[in-house]
Symmetry: C2
Subunit: 73 residues, 2 copies
């Protein structure tokens, strides 16, 4: 079993965030990492259906809406 990402990565994973809207149907899963000693930023990383990983801006309204949509479905 793989270690959780956070156990092996000791710094921020995102160097920037994707600014354009991504339709939820292209999103395979979303990983939320609270800020902590490894990184002062909250990090939101979406894995897309094509396997790409993109960092999203946690404060962007569309990002919050997508997360809400996943939870409410």
């Amino acid at each position: 079993k793989a270690l959780p990402r956070s156990a092996i990565e000791l710094r921020c994973q995102c160097i920037g965030t994707h600014s354009k809207f991504i339709h939820p149907k292209f999103i395979e899963n979303v990983n939320l990492t609270p800020s902590g000693p490894h990184c002062k930023n909250v990090e939101v990383i979406a894995t897309l259906r094509d396997g790409r990983e993109v960092c999203l801006e946690p404060t962007a309204p569309w990002v919050k809406l997508i997360i809400k949509a996943i939870l409410d479905k």
Copy 2:
């Protein structure tokens, strides 16, 4: 680089959900997987600071609050 979880797991990951409140300070990260062909349920898996992975109930108010708290911090 590891494959995303969703690319290698072809069925539901959770057989049940943890019902008791978990304080956000014990949470390392949270993974949200929308329902899809691999699993009819929305799955919310929290990785705790001690490395354990626990499934959370996406509809539970405290789970929504924890996710909101992570995003808002």
